[in-house]
C-alpha cells in the first residue's frame, strides 16, 4: 500500500556485484575508484565491489559473467560511462552470465562524473559512491523482465526515390523483402539524374539512374509510387500505418490499384528515410545572385551544360550570350563563419562542409576547359577537399587543363560586383600570392552551393526524428550505429543524413537496407520491456489511469474475477502500443500500475540510496 515509504521488500537473498570502471584514466584520473569500491562494498547486499581498467573490454565483461557463476551474484551494477554507450553491452554480458539481463543497473560516473567535476576529485568520488548506492537501492526492487514480442509486418516503406532510396529498395527486393518506394516527384532519380557528368567515373547521371530503374523494374517485391507523399503516420516498429496522398503528380488509377480506394493506406514494419538534400539557395544579392545576370548556382550551370554551344574561338554560346570567362566560387552556403556570414532564417549559420561540392566544382571547371578551350576559368576556393579515391586526379587534371586557382580566406570571401560592359567583377584577397588583391572580370559566376536537408515532412514530424545542429537527420551514433535513429524501425539512407557523394550515399543506402532486412527477417519484433504493467491484485478498477493515457488502445479495462468470485474491472496494458511514459502511474491510488524497470518504489529507493550512502569503506578488491 502506498502509505509506506517503500512498499514491498525484496524476498530473495540479494547478492550484488559492483564494478567500477577506470576507463583508462578517463574516470580514475579524477575519481578515486578504489575508495568508491571500498565504500560501496559496505552497503548491505553487496557481495563484491571491484575496480577494472576497462569494463567494456572482453576481460572486463568476462569478469562479470564469471562472478555471476562463481559468486552466485543475482544483481549487477557497472559504474562507467553514459548508459547510452554501454548499458546494452553490460546487460548482454549479464545475460551471458545466466542472469536476467534486467537485473542490471548502469551508473554514469564519466560524462556525469569525472568529466564534469575535474576540479573537485573528492566531491566527484563521493558523488560516484552516492550514485552507485542509488543504483543498488533501485536494484533491490528490480524484477526479472522479458523482452516483449510483437508481430512484424514484413514490408519496408522507403521515403524518397533518389539514388539512395532506389539502392535500398533494390537491395531489399533482392533479399525477397517487400518494398513500397514513395517518391514525391513524377520520376525517380533525385538530383543525380540532373548531373551531366558524374565524378569520379564519368558518364551521365541519368544513365546511372536508368540502370538502377531497370533493376527495380525486374523486382516483383518492389512497388514504386511516384508523385506521392506520406500524409499521415502512426504505429511503431513492426507495425507502422501510413496514409499516402497525391503530391500533385500522382497517378490516381495506379494508387487505387495498389492501395485500394482513398484514403490510401499501407502498412510497414520498417521505414527507410531517403529524402535527400536540397542545394543551398543563395539569398538575393548573395555573391550577386539574382542581382546580376550571369550569376548562377552550380546545379543551374550543370543543367545548362547540355545546351551550351561552342562558339568560334572556343567560347561558350548559351542563351543568347557569349561567355569567354567563368569564375567558380566554393563554399557558398557552407563552412559559414559566425559574424562573417549572414544568418539563415532559423538564426543559424551553415558551419558544416558540404563535402561533395569541391570535386563537383573542379570537375565542371575542367569540363569547360576541355569542351570550350577558349574560355578562361577561375576557381576561387578556401580549401580544396577532393577527398575520395580518384578525386585527387580530378583536381590535378583541372589544374593541368589550365584552370586558374585563387585562394581566399574564410573570413574574407570573394566579392562579386557589376563591372564595365555587362561583365562581372570578382575581387578577392589571394592567399596564393600572399595577400595580393586580385580582380577578375568574367562573363559568368558559378556559385558552388552546398547541401541543405530535404523536407522529410510528416514522417519526421510524427516520429520526432532527431536532427543535428546542421539540421540533417541524426543517427544514434556516428560510429557504432551510423544508419539507425533513436526511433525503432527507422533507418537513414543517403543525404537526408548529411552531405554525401553518390558512392557514400550508395554505401549508406546499402547499410540501411541491411539493417532493415535484419528487422524484417523475423515475423516478430522484440521490444524493450519498459512498458506499463498492472498488478491485478492491487488494481481496484477506478479507471483513473484510463483518462491519463492518450495512446489509443494502449490501456483498456477488462472484466476479471475478484478473489471473492465476484466480477470486477481491471486495467490491462497493450505493450505494443504503450510508450512507457508513465502518465498512468502518477494517478494510481494503489500503485497497481507501474512502468517495468522504473517503478516508483525503485525511484524512492534511489533517493534513499543517495541520501544514505557511505563515504568511505574498508574493503578493496581488484578485478
Amino acid at each position: 500500500m502506498r502509505t509506506e515509504e517503500n512498499n514491498g521488500v525484496p524476498g530473495e537473498d540479494i547478492r550484488i556485484g559492483v564494478y567500477v570502471c577506470m576507463c583508462g584514466g578517463n574516470i580514475s584520473d579524477v575519481i578515486d575508484v578504489d575508495r568508491v569500491a571500498a565504500a560501496v562494498g559496505e552497503i548491505a547486499g553487496v557481495t563484491l565491489a571491484k575496480v577494472h581498467p576497462f569494463m567494456c573490454s572482453d576481460p572486463g565483461q568476462q569478469t562479470i559473467t564469471e562472478d555471476i557463476k562463481t559468486q552466485k551474484l543475482n544483481r549487477v551494477v557497472v559504474a562507467s560511462c553514459s548508459p547510452f554507450l554501454h548499458e546494452l553491452t553490460f546487460r548482454t554480458a549479464v545475460g551471458r552470465g545466466g542472469l536476467n539481463p534486467y537485473l542490471y543497473e548502469h551508473v554514469n560516473i564519466r560524462e556525469q562524473g569525472s568529466w564534469s567535476h575535474k576540479d573537485d576529485p573528492d566531491g566527484a568520488t563521493i558523488k560516484a559512491i552516492r550514485l552507485i548506492a542509488a543504483a543498488i537501492g533501485k536494484l533491490r526492487y528490480a524484477e526479472p523482465l522479458e523482452q516483449i514480442q510483437i508481430s512484424n509486418f514484413r514490408r519496408a516503406l522507403v521515403i524518397g526515390g533518389g539514388i539512395a532510396g532506389m539502392r535500398s529498395a533494390v537491395d531489399l527486393g533482392k533479399r525477397g523483402i517487400e518494398v513500397l518506394l514513395v517518391e514525391k516527384e513524377p520520376s525517380l532519380g533525385g538530383w543525380v539524374k540532373e548531373w551531366e557528368e558524374i565524378y569520379p567515373t564519368g558518364g551521365k547521371g541519368a544513365e546511372l539512374i536508368r540502370r538502377l530503374n531497370e533493376e527495380l523494374e525486374r523486382l516483383n517485391e518492389v512497388t514504386v509510387l511516384k508523385g506521392v507523399r506520406v500524409s499521415d503516420l502512426s504505429g511503431f516498429v513492426g507495425n507502422y500505418n501510413v496514409t499516402l496522398e497525391n503530391a500533385g503528380a500522382g497517378d490516381e488509377a495506379e494508387l487505387r490499384e495498389v492501395l485500394g480506394n482513398a484514403p490510401y493506406r499501407a502498412q510497414a514494419g520498417a521505414i527507410i528515410v531517403a529524402a535527400g538534400f536540397e542545394p543551398y539557395k543563395p539569398r538575393a544579392g548573395e555573391f550577386g545572385y539574382e542581382s546580376f545576370p550571369g550569376v548562377v548556382t552550380l546545379p543551374e550551370f550543370i543543367e545548362g551544360l547540355s545546351e551550351m554551344q561552342i562558339h568560334p574561338e572556343g567560347r561558350i554560346f548559351w542563351r543568347g550570350r557569349t561567355v569567354g570567362s567563368v569564375a567558380f566560387i566554393h563554399c557558398v552556403g557552407s563552412r559559414q563563419i559566425e559574424g562573417v556570414h549572414e544568418k539563415q532564417d532559423d538564426g543559424k549559420i551553415n558551419d558544416y562542409c558540404s563535402r561533395t561540392c569541391c570535386t563537383a566544382i573542379v570537375r565542371n571547371a575542367a569540363l569547360i576547359r576541355e569542351r570550350f578551350p577558349g574560355v578562361h576559368v577561375y576557381d576561387f576556393y578556401q580549401d580544396i577537399r577532393t577527398y575520395g579515391r580518384g578525386h585527387e586526379e580530378i583536381y590535378t587534371s583541372a589544374a593541368n587543363t589550365g584552370v586558374t586557382f585563387l585562394r581566399y580566406h574564410g573570413e574574407q570571401p570573394p566579392v562579386v560586383e557589376k563591372g564595365a560592359d555587362g561583365a562581372l567583377l570578382v575581387r578577392c584577397n589571394d592567399r596564393l600570392t600572399f595577400g595580393e588583391e586580385i580582380e577578375a572580370a568574367v562573363d559568368m559566376v558559378v556559385l558552388g552551393v552546398g547541401m541543405t536537408p530535404g523536407a522529410v515532412g510528416k514522417v519526421s514530424e510524427v516520429l520526432k526524428l532527431p536532427v543535428g545542429a546542421d539540421r540533417f537527420l541524426q543517427e544514434v551514433h556516428p560510429k557504432l550505429r551510423p544508419v539507425e535513429v533513436s526511433v525503432n524501425g527507422v533507418f537513414l539512407a543517403g543525404t537526408a543524413q548529411g552531405p554525401m557523394n553518390i558512392e557514400e550515399a550508395f554505401s549508406a543506402a546499402g547499410a540501411a537496407a541491411a539493417k532493415a532486412s535484419i528487422l524484417l527477417n523475423n515475423s516478430t519484433v522484440q521490444l524493450d520491456p519498459f512498458k506499463a504493467n498492472v498488478d491485478d491484485e492491487s488494481c481496484i478498477g477506478c479507471e483513473r489511469c484510463l483518462s491519463e493515457c492518450v495512446y489509443t488502445g494502449a490501456l483498456v479495462m477488462k472484466e476479471a474475477k475478484g478473489t471473492d468470485g465476484s466480477t470486477c474491472r481491471k486495467a490491462v496494458v497493450n505493450p505494443g502500443l504503450c510508450v512507457g511514459c508513465g502518465a498512468c502511474v502518477a494517478v494510481c491510488p494503489t500503485r497497481a500500475i507501474y512502468v517495468n524497470g522504473w517503478t516508483l518504489s525503485q525511484y524512492e529507493a534511489m533517493v534513499d540510496g543517495l541520501l544514505n550512502a557511505p563515504r568511505e569503506g574498508a574493503r578493496i578488491e581488484n578485478a
Partner: protein
C-alpha cells in the same frame, strides 16, 4: 551552520530523450558544475505523483530540478500534464510553508549545455541561500497528499 558551509542536496530527474543526454553533453564538453547535483534518469517525470517530490523533501533532498524535454517531449500530452501537476504542487507547497524555490521545472535539450549549467547553478545558489529543507513541514504535506489519494479510493469503493 553558516550558510556558506551548507551544501544542498540537489536531485535532478532528467529525461532519457533530452535532459539526460543534455547533461552528458556538458560532460563531453568538459564543462563544470558542482558535485552536489545528482542526476537520475527518467522516461518522463510525468510518472511522479506529488507525493514523490514531497517524499524527497521529507527525506532531506533540499532542491529538485525537474529537467524535462519541454515541447520536444516524445510522449503526447505528457508535458502539459506535468506542468499542471507541478503548478498544483507549488500551490500546496506555498500554502504549507515549504519554499517553492526548492522545486523547478525546466526543459533541457540534448545539446543545451549552457541551459543545463545555468539551471543547476541557479537552483543550487537559491537553495544554498534558503538553507536546509524543513523536513517536518515536508512530512505534513507528504502525508496530506497521500491522504488525498486514499480518500479517493474510499469514496470510490463506497460507491460500488
Amino acid at each position: 551552520m553558516s550558510s556558506e558551509a551548507f551544501i544542498p542536496k540537489i536531485l535532478v530527474p532528467a529525461t532519457v530523450s533530452c535532459a539526460y543526454p543534455g547533461a552528458d553533453a556538458v560532460g563531453k564538453a568538459h564543462l563544470k558544475y558542482p558535485t552536489n547535483i545528482d542526476i537520475i534518469r527518467v522516461p518522463s517525470p510525468v510518472m511522479f505523483p506529488e507525493d514523490f517530490y514531497l517524499g524527497c523533501f521529507m527525506k532531506g533532498i533540499d532542491g529538485i530540478l525537474i529537467a524535462g524535454c519541454g515541447s520536444d517531449c516524445p510522449f503526447e500530452g505528457a508535458y502539459t500534464k506535468l506542468t499542471k501537476r507541478i503548478d498544483g504542487l507549488v500551490k500546496k507547497m506555498r500554502a504549507g510553508g515549504l519554499e517553492i524555490e526548492r522545486l523547478r521545472l525546466t526543459a533541457i535539450c540534448t545539446v543545451c549545455v549552457k541551459a543545463f549549467l545555468k539551471e543547476v547553478n541557479q537552483l543550487n545558489d537559491k537553495v544554498k541561500a534558503l538553507g536546509p529543507v524543513n523536513r517536518d513541514v515536508a512530512r505534513v504535506l507528504w502525508e496530506a497528499s497521500l491522504r488525498e489519494i486514499r480518500e479517493g479510493i474510499e469514496t470510490e469503493t463506497a460507491n460500488e
